[in-house]
């Protein structure tokens, strides 16, 4: 394994653990227990119980899986959209053929990027949710779309630098077509950048998708989800701060780990 990819192995490990964590949940995350409301953390309930007597640890573990699946789907959208858009700005028209619209592709990609980039991420996501309606799939799509422009900008910068490298010139002088150059010659060389950008996009998708479900645009009410749990915690913080504490710590640690991994990948790249 290349050192660049070794940088994200701790993150991958944590992601796998979060995805399979519901197995370890001691209680049913939806089971209400009116006799056990607002119990502080104890041996029976490690992280306490919420206003319906539901076990916070079980909800944290189940909610993590849901939040992570949405975030991963959103990251996928950001990576595909951002890479396509970003790579296009390194497109160069072939001087041999008059019909090649290379300059227009670069111009168009730049225009779309700068317009999208000017819309605040969460605001763009809210606009997309308005068009598609609330729910987890549209939440993932909205969060992903709002990270396309920041992603594309980072890729575009790296791609433009790569376009000036001798290996690109060599391939071009051998007669490689522009699409082949971009996707088969340059993209593999840019993989470390794509990887570190992906991890950063993951961090922001996690923060934004949690914010959207905090605002009530995610899972149906009652379903565990880190953003929704933070909302419940905000409601009851005066009597039970532990309800909102756990998901907050979880999100912060995961985002911090992602940003740290992105740094590692960048340094070793």
């Amino acid at each position: 394994m290349k050192p660049a990819f070794g940088g994200i192995s701790p993150l991958l490990l944590v992601l796998v653990v979060v995805l399979i964590a519901p197995v370890a949940a001691p209680y049913d995350p939806m089971a209400t227990n009116t006799g056990a409301q607002f119990q502080a953390p104890s041996v029976a309930h490690w992280l306490g119980t919420d206003q319906f007597g539901r076990d916070v640890l079980s909800r944290l573990l189940h909610g993590g899986q849901r939040t992570l699946l949405v975030t991963l789907a959103a990251t996928g959208i950001a990576v595909v959209g951002g890479t396509l858009l970003g790579m296009m700005s390194a497109y160069r028209s072939n001087p041999a053929s008059m019909s090649c619209p290379g300059d227009w592709i670069v111009f168009g990609a730049g225009v779309v990027m700068s317009a999208l980039f000017a819309v605040p991420a969460l605001v763009l996501a809210l606009a997309v949710v308005t068009l598609l309606g609330a729910g987890l799939p549209s939440l993932a799509l909205a969060t992903g779309i709002s990270q396309v422009a920041p992603f594309a900008r980072l890729i575009a910068t790296a791609a433009r630098q790569a376009a000036a490298m001798p290996y690109v010139e060599a391939a071009r002088s051998l007669g490689a077509r522009e699409a082949r150059l971009l996707w088969l010659h340059m993209l593999p060389n840019l993989l470390p950048t794509v990887l570190s950008t992906t991890v950063i996009a993951f961090a922001y998708c996690l923060l934004n998708s949690a914010a959207l479900s905090f605002l009530g645009l995610g899972a149906p009410p009652g379903q565990p989800d880190w953003g929704a749990m933070l909302f419940e915690g905000r409601q009851v913080f005066r009597v039970a701060i532990w309800v909102g504490l756990a998901p907050g710590v979880a999100i912060t640690l995961l985002v911090a780990l992602a940003l740290w991994s992105a740094d590692k990948v960048e340094v070793s790249a």
Binding site: V119, V123, G248, T252, W260
Partner: protein
């Protein structure tokens, strides 16, 4: 110099026009536009719907509609809300003050905290020349590093609750929400400012790291200047344009954060208005607010770019 300023201005205008066009296209992409859907749901007949569409000019060719839309925008007219028929201008206008108050206060907090954290965290290169108190500085640097990472990573929806819990519920120093008094601004501004500080600290720290290796810094230290003099006057001063640019970029983040912060602290504001519009599917109002926020970001970014230019002696000298 003036050519550069002109380039910034042109780019800002181009982005603004794009944003306008994009929001127009986005609204037309709606599967069966919102108005028709709403009318149909309320049991209106086809002729009533056609009449209503004609009254709003929705039956005209797209290009004509686009022309009208842009023309209305140039007059500063954003249309009317679907729900109550009020002009969107006045709906936004009524909330701008509160949001600007929050954004500016948060930016001040974020800039002070961010530059502070970044300065302490990024001083490693200066420390190479330091003889005494290295241990204290190393300790401070690790603390700054941790605070910076937490500021970048902690979601506002969580730090907000923590802040209210500590300062309102436990200590009872500040009110938990509302707006109007200065005391009600402090907590939201601290929460949003802390989140903003993360990005500013990162840029400051990286800039200080790069600048600290420049030979002129070594010269300044060799001349016998105190570390503070070198750090503030020679290093931080040069990093200033980068920090200003970053603060411009953070304006979008501030508006995103305002949506969440305003609803957490039950403050009025444009973010809250946007959230209400989203929940009620008031498409024109969402479109108007998105456009307004985008234009604000474009203006602030352009302004920051120009300020950065003015703050950078090297760029000021160069002719483009």
């Amino acid at each position: 110099m003036s050519a550069r300023l002109l380039a910034f201005l042109l780019r800002a205008i181009a982005s603004a026009w794009l944003a306008v066009t994009l929001t127009f296209v986005l609204l037309r992409l709606l599967p069966g536009d919102g108005l028709t859907a709403q009318l149909r749901e309320s049991g209106a007949t086809d002729s009533v719907i056609a009449e209503r569409q004609a009254a709003l000019g929705l039956d005209a060719p797209l290009l004509v509609q686009y022309g009208r839309y842009v023309e209305a925008l140039l007059r500063g007219d954003l249309g009317v809300s679907l729900l109550n028929g009020q002009p969107i201008n006045s709906l936004i206008g009524a909330q701008v003050g509160s949001t600007m108050e929050l954004a500016i206060a948060s930016l001040v907090v974020g800039a002070a905290l961010g530059v502070g954290i970044g300065y302490v965290g990024g001083q490693s290169t200066l420390q190479r020349y330091r003889v005494s108190s290295r241990a204290i500085c190393d300790g401070l640097r690790s603390v700054a590093g941790i605070v910076g990472i937490v500021a970048l990573s902690a979601p506002v929806i969580w730090t907000g609750t923590l802040g209210v819990w500590v300062f309102a519920a436990q200590l009872d120093w500040l009110p938990a929400g509302g707006a109007g008094r200065l005391s009600q601004l402090i907590l939201p501004a601290l929460v949003l400012g802390f989140a903003t500080a993360g990005g500013i600290a990162q840029v400051t720290q990286r800039a200080l790291g790069a600048i600290g290796r420049e030979p002129y810094v070594q010269t300044a230290i060799a001349k016998g200047l105190s570390e503070w003099a070198v750090g503030i006057r020679h290093v931080l001063r040069v990093a200033l344009p980068l920090v200003i640019t970053q603060m411009g970029i953070q304006s979008g983040y501030l508006l995103s954060g305002a949506v969440v912060t305003e609803s957490m602290f039950s403050r009025p504001g444009v973010g809250r208005l946007l959230l209400d519009a989203v929940l009620r599917q008031d498409y024109p109002l969402v479109q108007g607010i998105v456009l307004w926020m985008t234009l604000v970001v474009i203006c602030v970014t352009a302004l920051a770019d120009m300020l950065a230019l003015l703050a950078d002696a090297r760029l000021r000298q160069s002719t483009l």
